[in-house]
Point group: C2
Chain length 270, copies 2
């Protein structure tokens, strides 16, 4: 099986011109098949504010109403995505910037309204996610650059979590490629103390993860793992359980070191 890197880059990096540019140079240098999935960053909120829109939250969760989906479609699918593509092209990387709607790469459904109506938010339809269009791009040396948007197949674009998209894409493509999934962001990896990079966990297995999550764990570290990391780690273990070969979490600026194993946290199954 050919090696494939599925690389998620977080929103904070997308917002930082210098860090993004340095990351994209490394990404361009990486040999072989690769996919970049980018977060949205804060620019959509800034532009929404300038347009006089109010951000709406319910229980601390952002609601994607009709105005907001237009803004994120513009900003994530247009501004952010095309700036990344133009920079990658300048670095000799044959990037194609798309969303999950394009070539039906990532089918989704609008999240059902239960206690909260999240609005135009999409949950990936794993069962309808196929390798066909991905293979056409990847096997022809085109590098997909994916904005955090999907569609419902009925004409509606949906705002979608980039971490989840990365995990779902990595899972389905692990049936045809040897997939390494890399979550890159502003932190050095999974840290015992979020404010201290020297507390980096170099290798994290399921058992240790359960201890970290448990506030009553005898290791006494339970309370220290930061909440924002938990969905990412749940995604990581789910990916490993579904055929993804390796999951690495670490600093975007160290992309090549993350891949050669000298930086970041490796999530392992055993």
């Amino acid at each position: 099986m050919e090696l494939l890197f599925v690389i998620k880059i977080g929103g904070n990096i997308v917002d930082d011109e210098n860090k993004l540019s340095s990351f994209l140079q490394s990404f361009a240098q990486l040999n072989g098949r690769k996919i970049l999935i980018h977060g949205g960053g804060k620019v959509a909120t800034k532009i929404g504010d300038k347009l006089g829109m109010e951000s709406k939250y319910v229980d601390g969760r952002r609601i994607t109403d009709a105005e907001t989906i237009d803004v994120v479609t513009m900003v994530y699918g247009g501004l952010v995505n095309k700036k990344i593509v133009a920079q990658l092209q300048a670095n000799g990387c044959n990037a194609v910037g798309v969303t999950g709607a394009d070539a039906n790469l990532i089918p989704a459904t609008k999240r059902p309204v239960q206690e909260i109506d999240y609005g135009f938010v999409g949950d990936v339809e794993s069962s309808q996610l196929t390798v066909g269009s991905w293979q056409i791009l990847l096997d022809n040396n085109l590098i997909p650059v994916i904005a955090p948007l999907t569609h419902d197949g009925k004409g509606q674009i949906l705002n979608t979590n980039a971490d989840t998209m990365a995990q779902e894409v990595a899972k389905v493509l692990s049936t045809v490629y040897e997939v390494q999934l890399i979550y890159s962001f502003e932190k050095a990896g999974v840290l015992l103390d979020i404010n201290d990079e020297s507390t980096l966990i170099k290798q994290l297995n399921w058992e240790y993860y359960q201890q970290l999550k448990n506030p009553d764990s005898p290791s006494g570290v339970g309370s220290k793992i930061f909440a924002g990391m938990i969905p990412k780690l749940d995604n990581a273990f789910a990916a490993l359980n579904s055929g993804v070969k390796k999951v690495i979490i670490g600093k975007a600026e160290n992309l090549l070191e993350l891949i050669n194993g000298t930086s970041g946290t490796s999530i392992v199954n055993e």
Copy 2:
């Protein structure tokens, strides 16, 4: 040679939800290889206004400054392009929405500053335009939907005329496909009197076109051809002279009739 339709849709149609939707249904029904190149429409100006930007003109020509290129990248490359893609997907058409930067589909250079500095406006680099990435998409039944943006290969997105993009793409692809180039917009075709659709010219050859352009022509129609049509017609004849098989100009709502020859103006070489 396989048949390929290169279809440009004008900005006025893009701005009209009902007309656009009806056009996209027809486009989806069209069998075989096809490319859609869309204009920008007025929504970029509206959003620019809301963002407090001033439109800048020199000699009646819009200037694309740094703020403007960001807005058109968002609106053309994101909002407009992805709405079209999502609708085409809903109509069973496997659309991939991209710009000329993606897969380096349309290389361009920033227009040199002479009397006027147009800002971030791109002129297509015909000599660097190749069929490679186009063929990967088209021969795998992916339908390119192109926003009127290109790039300079050095990391900069450029605002680019969609008519010219359509002509340049049609020309280069006529080396590998039998290309029909269709300019579709709100009018019935080339009209002798812009306000009277009954004055449609069904067939226009070079000689007749020269008469129409000439105000002193003995046919007496010289002054009637409307100025906005001239660049489109110059493009059309240039395309025919470079290997494009057929050029048709007409109403977007009649797409299928334009193709079967029962509507619009056919531009012919003889």
